[in-house]
Every structure is written in structure tokens, then in C-alpha cells.
């Protein structure tokens, strides 16, 4: 597609809302600085009310920022109305025009651009085949399933060849299996079109599956920006570690520094080595993130524990064990080949120094 790729830049963007109950003003988004490269797929991830949709709507032009500037490419766009911005949004509720059929829905934006009829027809049919809806042009929107409606919404946004595609939780109304199929579709189509995309979701697996980069938001503030591996293995704080995947938090103290990177950590009377401790001095307290799948249960190892829950989940065995007063969750994949521990068994939690992340 002949779209010129453009990046998006948010500089010190803030948005103030009024609390409906107390009448007090608060920051829905506070001092957000985001740079999105041309052609990049970026996800805004966070729990509801974290300001991610507000950011998306500010980029689209439905809301105006109270502080800061928004750039599309090199152009500052804050003063433009939504119809003058080169963005196209895919809505959570699909927002198809119910009085038009599929063809007219997709052609709507092109007709507004006063294109030639034959060109419109060609473009619409091409895009419908791209999203897998050939031959459906004459259907009305309410004759389509949720997944098909979502494809129409996507086609409608793609066909006007915008510089940026905006997705506002587009898959949240679909059932779980369809959601997985559709997110792969969205990624494929975005790659094919080579278009910049900003995607809002609260589903971390969706964010992982789709994105080049993930922007994690918490209470209106950008908490961490990074690619999926970074945010998973090197979360910026407990919030990110907890929000993306599952985590055990071990509150430990640095007993000794072995070299600039590695430290000896003391936790519940046990000592073990952890890397990535350059930011911590001896005697400091720290929080160690241990992913459930990074820990193993063994007859000998780092932390002595007692099993309090052992449950077979099919593709993994789920353990809860107590190390002193701390509960640690362990996921043991493909348990068929492993020894199974039962409730009351004494065992050890085992991991290497590179399998933890120290905050």
C-alpha cells in the first residue's frame, strides 16, 4: 500500500478529568512522553482506568490534551478535528454503520475523499479479500458474526490508508478462541500493510502477541516502555511484574556483593546468588521477582519449603509452597516426566541466579 509511514510523538501529554462523585479534578493521563516509530506496532497496556484509552482518543482527536503536544510525523495535530487527522480507529464496539451494507461501510471513508467510483470499488474489494470477507459486500452488518464485524471495522480503517491505525480494545467483545485467531490476523495484516499501529488493551497476552513495543500504564502514568521480552524479564517495578504474567515477590536483603553485577541475597534465613544487582549496595533491601515457571521443585536446591497445594492442571502441575512465611507459586510444565510432590511434602525451590530479576 502506498501509505507514507509516519511515527507518532507525544510530548508531556496530560489530561485532566473531573471525578463524578467528589467533583475533584484528577490526572487521567499525566506527563506522558511516548515516541512511536513509523511502521511500529505499539500496545498501550494497563488495567481499566489507567488512561490508555484516553491517550488513544487524544491521538484520534476525540479528546483534547490539557498539557503537551501531539505530533503525527512532524506535524503537530492537537488543533485538528478528528476528521482532519490522518488516523483511523477500530472501535471496541466495532461501530459499523448499521444502515449501510458491508461494501458501503468500507467505502464510506473513500466516498468522503471523493474518489472515482471504480477506484473505490477496486480498493474495497481488495481490502475485503485481505481481511477474508470476499463475497460478503451485500450483507448488512447485523448479518455478520462478531468476528466478521471486527474484520469489517478493520477493513474500513485500513482502506483509507491512514498514517496510523488506532485500536481501542477491538477484541474484547469476542470469545476467547476467536480472540486468539483475530489477534494473529491483525498482526499479519498490519505487517502486510506496513502501517503504524497503536493498540489499547488490558489483556497482557494480547499485548505480548501483537506488539513490537509495549507501553505499560498505571494510574495515568507511563510506567515502562519496552519490547515483550524486556517487560517480561526485566519489569520496572512490582506493578509491571504482577500485571504481565504471574510473579513471586521475594523480599530480601543484600548480604554481600560478589562482584558489580552479582550479589548474595538473604531471604527467610536462606542465602542465594542473584545477578542484575548493580544498582544495589550491601545491606540494602530489595524485591526479587521469581516467575512461577522459572522455579523448580526438587529434592535439593536453594530454598527449603513445604508444599501446601499441588494440583494437576493438564499441561502443568500447579504448586503452592511455603518458604518461611512467604508463599511461592511454582508452575511445573509437562509434569508427566517429573516427580510429583504432594501436600505436606518437604522439598526445595530451585533456580539459578539468572532466572530472577531484582528490583
Amino acid at each position: 500500500m502506498a501509505t507514507e509511514k509516519k511515527g507518532v510523538r507525544l510530548e508531556h501529554i496530560s489530561k485532566i478529568y473531573q471525578d463524578q462523585k467528589t467533583g475533584k479534578d484528577f490526572y487521567a493521563v499525566q506527563d506522558a512522553n511516548i515516541t512511536i516509530a513509523p511502521g511500529e506496532f505499539v500496545t498501550l497496556l494497563g488495567p481499566s482506568g489507567c488512561g490508555k484509552t484516553t491517550i488513544l482518543r487524544m491521538i484520534a482527536g476525540f479528546e483534547s490534551p490539557d498539557e503537551g503536544k501531539i505530533f503525527l510525523g512532524d506535524e503537530q495535530i492537537d488543533e485538528l478535528t478528528p476528521n482532519k487527522r490522518d488516523t483511523a480507529m477500530v472501535f471496541q464496539s466495532y461501530a459499523l454503520l448499521p444502515h449501510y451494507n458491508i461494501f458501503d461501510n468500507v467505502a464510506y471513508g473513500l466516498k468522503l475523499r471523493k474518489m472515482d467510483k471504480n477506484v473505490i470499488r477496486e480498493k474495497v474489494l481488495h481490502i475485503l479479500s485481505l481481511v477474508g470477507l470476499e463475497g460478503m459486500e451485500e450483507r448488512m452488518t447485523n448479518q455478520l458474526s462478531g468476528g466478521q464485524q471486527q474484520r469489517v471495522a478493520l477493513a474500513r480503517a485500513l482502506v483509507i490508508e491512514p498514517s496510523v491505525l488506532l485500536f481501542d480494545e477491538p477484541l474484547s467483545n469476542l470469545d476467547a478462541k476467536l480472540r486468539v485467531d483475530m489477534r494473529n490476523e491483525i498482526r499479519r495484516i498490519q505487517q502486510e500493510a506496513g502501517i503504524t499501529a497503536i493498540y489499547v488493551t488490558h489483556d497482557q497476552s494480547e499485548a505480548m502477541a501483537l506488539s513490537d513495543n509495549i507501553i505499560i500504564m498505571k494510574k495515568g502514568v507511563v510506567d515502562q516502555v519496552g519490547d515483550p521480552q524486556t517487560v517480561y524479564y526485566h519489569p520496572a517495578d512490582e506493578f509491571v511484574a504482577d500485571f504481565i504474567g504471574e510473579s513471586n515477590f521475594l523480599h530480601a536483603t543484600i548480604a554481600d556483593k560478589l562482584d558489580s553485577e552479582t550479589a548474595l541475597c538473604r531471604f527467610e534465613g536462606h542465602e542465594f546468588e542473584a545477578s542484575g544487582c548493580s544498582h544495589l549496595d550491601k545491606g540494602k533491601e530489595c524485591c526479587i521477582v521469581l516467575r512461577p515457571e522459572s522455579a523448580r521443585l526438587a529434592d535439593e536446591g536453594t530454598l527449603a519449603c513445604e508444599v501446601v497445594l499441588s494440583r494437576f492442571m493438564g499441561h502443568y502441575q500447579n504448586y503452592h509452597v511455603m518458604v518461611g512465611d512467604t508463599l511461592i507459586k511454582i508452575t511445573d510444565f509437562n509434569p508427566r516426566t517429573h516427580k510429583i510432590y504432594n501436600v505436606g511434602d518437604h522439598a526445595f525451590v530451585d533456580f539459578t541466579k539468572d532466572e530472577v530479576h531484582v528490583l
Partner: protein, 569 residues
Amino acid sequence: MAKSQSARLERKKLLGDPILITTIVVLIAFLTLFILYPLAILMVDSVVSDNGISFDVFTRILALPSFDRAITNTLRVGFAVGILSALIGLLFAYVEVYVKLRTKFMTGLFRVVSMLPVVSPPFVLSLSMIMMFGKKGLITRGLLGIFDNNIYGFWGIFIVQTMSFFPVCYMMLKGLLKNIDPSLEEAARDMGASRWKVFTSVTLPLILPGLGNAFLVSFIESIADFANPMIIGGSYDTLATTIYLQITGAYDKQGAAAMAVVLLSITLLMFVVQKFVLEAKSTSTLSGKATRARMLITDNSVRIPLTILCALVALFVIGMYLCVPYGSFVRSWGSNYELTTKWFEQVFTKYHGLQAFSDSFMLSLIAAPITALLSMIISYLVVKRRFRGRGFIEAVSMLAMAVPGTVLGVGYIRGFSSGVMHTGFLQGLYGTGLILIIVFVVRSLPTGTRSGISALRQIDKSIEESAYDMGADSFTVFMTVTLPLIKDSFLSGLVTAFVRSITAISAVILLVTPEFLLITVQINEFAGKGSYGMACAFATILIVITYGSVLLMNWAIKHFGTSRALKEE
């Protein structure tokens, strides 16, 4: 925290949309000039005279015994009508929602009763009341042999207004009852409550605010009503008729203005209570949708008495309405019931019937599309857009609902007969057909706007946003998305505005000049003179026109409406 930047950006965006900004400015100017200004001038005129600000006029009119009597009469009728309308409305709503109606005949009766007030000119019931129960009444004299029954006065107004306004209560309460989750009542039943106990301890408390709401709505309608007290009131004057007589009889415009202020204050107060206290309450307690269908009452000990009661009321009302067309074919009501078409012939030969119909028809035909489009635009702006002045537009167009036609009429006389602010500006407007059209528009605007607003609230905000996002400007969004989606509401607004305009009397009777013959004014005149045959003939043709328009609307909605296109599977 400062929101100045977003405010500035919103302003910029608004200015980037010239059609939108023009619409808003024109709309605000229209509402100010034709709703706010006439009301304001009433207030000003009744306190400002040549020797400065004084309340002399109020002291004077309050000392008038006729005014004193009018207030008492108005309030007394209002309360009585409000209470009885709400109760009958409740009865009908309850029976329709809770009781299994076995026959098609009964469901048909309910439909007719709910539709009658829409198609009927305001004074038809008064006419038939006189013809049925008056001195020469079909029932009083013909059937019972009573020769001196006096139907004029309190009882006449009370019965006629109740019959006119209870269908509105019925429709309001029906909506509320349908929203009660049946499991609430089933739970009470399950714990051992009798059906009566369930009604008094669950159903009734739940709809009590709605019942209060229904009472106030009919109360306001009753005290604002002009046509019925005019025809059947006799010497029992209400505020609306007193104001009219003060202008046309006593030529006391300033006194009429002061009286209009009093009437307006009462309706506004009631309206505020109704709008902000009861309406909010009645919807907040019943916001939940019913989860599943209700088990209808089939118990005959409940079903039969309630059904019979409803049927009697409905048949009585329908009989009253039929009396008018019948009367138009009768040679001399009360003495000679021989059938004749002489009244219709006279309508067109002797009394300029054709001109009356074409005047009424044309003026309403012009007013209707303006009203419908205007109310859809207002609804769109109120529901879908954020801008300064939005609150003003919403408030003023809703305010118009609380303004009795008579008050508006006096306001227009005071406000435009010598030009805006007595400066001569726009004086040319006064006495023209244009001002009649404007009155029609203003009088129907609130109903249209209300239906538009509720229709638009059903539409997901993101549908319009998506069109906007695709590159459409506000005007294109409105024309290609909003309007097609609320086509039903638009069509019904069109017809409602037409019907309301062609049957309007209270405001226009004060403003109409001899140049224009309006049907309603003709009916009022003939009824006043006692020529019921003529009045009936005019009224019958009017009913045919309005009923025809409603049929046309239903047909249009069925064939071109959105619901069909959207429901099509």
C-alpha cells in the same frame, strides 16, 4: 490543574467546523428570540411602567375577584385531574402489563385509547361532553329525560381533561411497570405475600415516584389547557381563559401579562419539581431491565373486574370521540337526529371552509418539517456534542414544555406587536403567517426534541465517532449517520409536529389575524355560538386529516423506517 489548554483546543476544533458553529449560533439566537425573550418581556412588562419599577399591576390583578377565582378554579381542577388521570393511567398500565387479556378486542381497545390523544384536536371531548350530557344531551335528555343538566363548570372540565390526559399517564406508567424485574414480585410472592400485598408492598412503592410524575404532568397539562375550559367552562374561568378574556375582552394587555407571569410561575415550579425530583427518582429506582417475561395474571377474580373496568372506561372515551363525527351528520342535535350533510356543505359554501383548511394545512405543513429537523439537530447537539452553550440549548428547549400556550401567545403579543423590546425591530413579523409558523414550531419543539434525545441516547457514541474519524465533518456525520439512524424518530416527529400544529389553539388564537382562517379557531367560534353541527363538521374533517397523517406516518415508518432495515435478517 488547569484545563485551559483543552478548552482552547476544543474551541479551535469547533471553529474548524463552520457549519456546526453557524448552526449553534443560529439555534441559540432562535431559542433566545422566540422562547426566552417573549417570557422575559412578560416579566419586565408586568413590573415596569411609565413611572418606574412597581408591582402595581400585580396588586391590581390580585385585587380582581375574577383573578382570585381563576387561580382557585385552576388549581382545584388541576389537582383533581392530576390525581384521577394518574389513577386511571395506572389502572390501564397495570392491566396491560400484568393481566392476561384474552381477546384481541381488548388489546385493540388499549391501542386505540393510547393513540386517541395524539390524533384528537383538543376540544373534541368538550364538544361531545356537551352533546352527550348537556341540556340537549343525547344521554341526559334523550335517555334519562333530564332537561336542566348543567355540565358547564368544574365537573365538565374535570371529566373532559381527565379523559384527555390519562392516556399520557398510562403510556408513562406502562414504561415503568415493564421495567420492574418480575423476580422482585415473585420473591415477595414466594415469601408468602398475597397478590394485593405484593402490589402494595413491592409494585406500588417502586412506581410511586413515577405516579407522582404522572400526576404532575397531567396537572401541568390541565392548568395550561385553554380549549376545554373555553368551551365547557361556562362561567367557571381558569387562568388560561381569564388571560385570554383580559386581552380580547378588557383590552388590558399589561394585566394579561402579569396574569401570564403568575400562570407561568405555577407551571414552571411544577415542571422543575417534575423534571429534577420525580423524573430522576422514578428512573433511578427502575433502571434495571426486566430479566425475563412476567407471568401474567390469569386468575379470573382479578382479571375479570379489572378488564371490565378498563373496557368501560375505554368504551366511554371512544364513544365520546365518535359522538363528534356523528353530530356532524345530524340535522339538529337534541331534537332532530335525522341524518344530513348540510353542515359539511355549509362548511365549504358559507363559511370559507376551504380557505380555513388550506390556511391551517399550509401553515402546519411548513412548520412540521422545520420543527422535526430543528428538534433532531437540537437532540444531536445535546446528546453527541460538547460545547459551551449546550446546556443553554437543552434547558431552553425543555423549558418550552412548561410554557402554557396562552402565556406564549401573550408573550408574543407583548414582545413583537411593537417590535423587539418595543423598538420596532422585527415588527413586520407580527400579524403575519410567519409568526404563526414560529409559534407552531416552538410549541412542538419540546416533544420532538425529547423523542430525538431518547432515540439518540440509544445509539452507541462510537458509531458517529467512527464516521468522524473516517474523515466526515459534523454536517456529513449528521446527514449520513445520525439522521438515517433516527429516521423513525424524525418521521414521527414530523407527523406529531404537523398534528400538534393543525390542532393548536391556545397560543395562535391570540395571534391570528383575520387574514388567516384557522380550523381550530373556527371550531372554537362555532362551539361558542352553540352551533354544534358546524363545530362538529369542522372537527370531523380535522380528525380525518390528523388520523390520516398518523396512518401515513405508520406506513412510512414501516416502509422507509430504520427499524425495518435494521431488523431485517
